[in-house]
Symmetry: C2
Subunit: 185 residues, 2 copies
């Protein structure tokens, strides 16, 4: 994962209103009280929405973030990070184990060992094929902010959190992949 | 990405104190004011920390979340989501374009089109090889909460947000991958 570090040299193209950071510094390696924990969180701001109309699937990136799409059209696939907002309740965020695929025959499995849409932090990750970026003619890529994708397992309106391009060198295992039996069935 | 939906049938194994949800409902497709936007965020709670000591790299999952690791030992690789907490400032979260790999010869590129560690939402994603899960002998997997991994491009102490197992069927492209020139060099 060395690309992220190597990208550290920055040249901001400016724009984008300031986005408030929300981290509270805290040493979480010690055992904290519920009160302490409640103060320790990071803030996620939606950068767009999933739009589904018929067979068309688009990521509508808000205008203030559209400049961050520059160059995405050079890639075939993108990781879409979105928020499982329909499950954002204290109860669903406290579920730690499920039967994968809703099948009781599958062993009770931790949410960190499956892709269940209930988990402490409701981040969903989908690898999507890009059909076009900012397809609006005569507008250029700036301010348009539309990524047309093949499909995504999200709801119409799901909040988009981040996009990262698919890079085989860091996003695929170099050696043998091993899976549990329930996933092979 | 159909696994996540199919996992919807839930069986909570209880435990884990309630985790406060933090979403504010808001229609972000309209243009919102800065004030409105400031209210619209989701809360991320750290579920563990990266621990680096010499060549040993571990994910220390907090005890209250350790049950979510059940079954992870059946997988060879895991996606680690962590927070780039050192960059959690309004300025760094407002950067939308960078020169990839810190090389000015590379074209100015949107942060959604590279893996820069500065972006509106500071989620980092690393695919990691699992060496062992909860290796402590005589303790079983419950309450131990340690995932020993081969390596990760994170700092010692980086907050872990989520773990998802690597599943080739949904995590690798089925057709040709296309990349921009700067990434091929």
């Amino acid at each position: 994962m060395d690309i992220s570090r190597r990208d550290l040299f920055l040249k901001s193209a400016g724009m984008a209103a300031c986005i408030g950071g929300g981290a509270f510094a805290s040493d979480l390696t010690k055992t904290e009280t519920a009160e302490e924990r409640a103060k320790t969180f990071f803030k996620l701001y939606p950068v767009g929405r999933v739009e589904k109309k018929g067979k068309s699937v688009r990521l509508r990136i808000f205008e203030r973030y559209a400049d961050a799409l520059k160059g995405l059209d050079g890639f075939s696939h993108v990781w879409v990070f979105y928020w499982l907002d329909k499950n954002d309740t204290p109860r669903k965020r406290s579920i730690l184990q499920v039967h994968p695929r809703g099948n009781k025959k599958n062993p009770l499995t931790g949410v960190f060992a499956c892709r269940a849409p209930v988990r402490p932090n409701l981040i969903a990750l989908s690898l999507c094929k890009i059909l076009s970026v900012n397809p609006a003619p005569n507008r250029g890529w700036v301010k348009s902010g539309v990524v047309h994708i093949e499909k995504i397992d999200a709801f119409d309106g799901s909040p988009v959190l981040d996009l990262k391009p698919y890079a085989p060198g860091i996003d695929s295992p170099t050696k043998g992949v091993r899976l549990p039996d329930w996933l092979k069935r």
